[in-house]
């Protein structure tokens, strides 16, 4: 798996497609319906924001999209392949290859250089040595940190740390960048920088899904999906940029 193998390279195949996805948690006697039938598709090259208040089900949706959790019912396809019923191990491979995660708290390893952080997903993909190094340097250059390869998290600002995390998400050349409150731990100036970076990556053709509760952040996306009480209440293009 040196280069990600396209599952179905037809341009019309959506990157992700959820159909009637439900998620029910059993809390003792009470069944909590976190998702009550969500259907949505994201096409290649789209920049989508998923917005909702806390408790709306957006975190559950994000976990299902990121293959960290399984739907109770419904189908979930990534590039045409049904993935919701795959084994734990097969899901780990798809996460590694198809999805790049960006978290609110960056989730960098302590006392580890930026370059080593970015090499980590490659290690799980079986890519090591000079090749891993070259790709890590490329990804860090893409987020503007070519001069910070050897810096550890405690030597980087919050914005720089999030850039390292974005480089780590990009290094396996995933189909989808999945960001969970990516600016939640940043000040407004740094937030703008990160959102500018997202715009730039989108312009380069990357598919982005940003989960947030901040309207200002969601407003940067071309399409905003609003989740409330476990269902999609609105799905609208904010700008008429799409073809």
């Amino acid at each position: 798996m040196n280069e990600p193998m396209p599952l179905q390279s037809t341009s019309s195949t959506p990157v992700i497609a959820l159909d009637s996805v439900t998620k029910t948690y059993q809390m003792g006697e009470v069944a909590v319906h976190a998702l009550r039938g969500v259907s949505l598709t994201v096409q290649r090259g789209e920049y989508v924001a998923i917005i909702g208040a806390s408790g709306s089900g957006k975190s559950t949706l994000m976990n299902i999209i990121g293959l960290l959790d399984r739907p109770t019912h419904g189908s979930y396809r990534i590039r045409g392949q049904e993935v919701s019923r795959l084994s734990k191990s097969a899901q780990a491979d798809i996460r590694n290859r198809e999805i790049g995660f960006v978290f609110q708290r960056f989730n960098l390893l302590p006392r580890t250089s930026a370059q080593a952080q970015v090499e980590l997903p490659l290690f799980y993909a079986g890519v090591t040595g000079a090749k891993a190094k070259r790709r890590a340097v490329e990804a860090l250059t893409r987020v503007g940190l070519a001069q910070r390869l050897d810096h550890r998290p405690d030597q980087l600002s919050g914005g720089q740390q999030q850039r390292v995390a974005i480089a780590r998400a990009l290094v396996t050349q995933p189909s989808l960048l999945l960001a969970d409150e990516p600016t939640g731990a940043l000040d407004s100036k740094t937030t703008a920088e990160i959102l500018d970076l997202f715009d730039a990556l989108h312009a380069q053709g990357l598919t982005l899904v940003v989960v947030t509760h901040e309207h200002a952040v969601a407003a940067r996306a071309a399409r905003v999906i609003t989740i409330s009480d476990g269902t999609v209440v609105s799905d609208a293009s904010t700008r008429q940029k799409e073809e």
């Binding site: 976990n63 990121g66 960290l68 959790d69 734990k88 191990s89 780990a92 491979d93 996460r95 590694n96 290859r97 995660f101 978290f103 989730n107 390893l109 302590p110 006392r111 980590l120 997903p121 290690f123 799980y124 993909a125 090591t128 780590r168 396996t172």
Partner: protein
Amino acid sequence: MRIMRYLGVALSNIGVNKLRSLLTMLGIIIGVAAVLTTLGIANGAANSITADIQQQGTNLLEVSDARGVGGSRLTTADARILGDRTEFPHFVGVAPAYSGNTTLVRNGVDVEARVQGVTGAYLTVSTIEVASGRFLNAADETHGARVAVLGSDLASDLFGAAEPLGQEVRIGGDLFTVVGVLKTSGGSRFFSNDTTAYVPLTIAQTRLFAAPFYRGERLVSSISIKVDDAYPLEQAEQDVEAALRLLHGLKLGDDNDFSIFNQASLLDLAAGVSTTLSVLLGGIGAISLLVGGIGIMNIMLVTVTERTNEIGLRRALGAHDRDILVQFLAEALVLCLLGGVIGVGLSFGIGALLSAIPAFPITIAIDATAVILALLVSSAAAILFGLYPALRATRLDPVEALRYE
């Protein structure tokens, strides 16, 4: 080479928390060092005993009385008959001895010492060597000469730097002329020749210690017999037993009134004791490694909890169960092996330190097999005690783990 990466990651994680890692390893370090050092001492002691015995030769029999002083029936006559070469052609040396402790006086210096009455044959059955002068001979015996040969330490105690040869020393009530001084033996540490004085057997039996009689012959305390190399020692032992039973008039069914001591059986005994000791110490070592292993398990459980968030992240980045398992197992393995290696180093250090003490009588011999075994056992302990925490790490739910603060 993936495993090398895991080991590298493990090593850097251990390095992050140096003090805690060291304290965790302490159980293994102390366990390994204690076992190797004690095994080394046991080994060294066994080697030293074996060397002593082999130095004296293993084709030796020593006959002594079985009844203690007073009841003894071992006499000069027994020694004379056993020493008859026509009767016992394979006995190349038969040396009766009668010994006791008494005071030696020289120019107001008096020394309490062991005095052995022996014949010239004693030279053939023991490891002693003459440094200057001569040893006792048959003429001394027949003439009842009052001559003495001194062990090296005894000679310097009595004469200091002065030349002892030809000088007189008072032993018991009589004056003896020193005719020889022995080399420092350094051999047997349990019974030193260096502080012993040797005088003719008859003189010891009569003038010095007044040995009792049995059937008109003076008693001896022991008879040492050197058997020629070609003759089986067991056979020689049976020959001696048969002859002495006949001489002492023992009937069928009577117990022997003497005992025969065989150097070869002493060697077997030494080897047996050494094996028993090794098993015992190995057992204690296993227990200490068990305790050390539990310490490792405890810390690994803490580590897994502390790094829950990291485990969640690794999951999100595509780590399989196997990757998480191997990562934490590798960490336990590195902790245990590092502890084991430090323990081995420590045991060699202690060994060198103890050997540097002049009064310490044993050269510590740490076995390569014991070292390898210790390292293997610590690795096994790592796998055993690291498995449960590592399995716990793989069972963490990634969503929960990522949310964990």
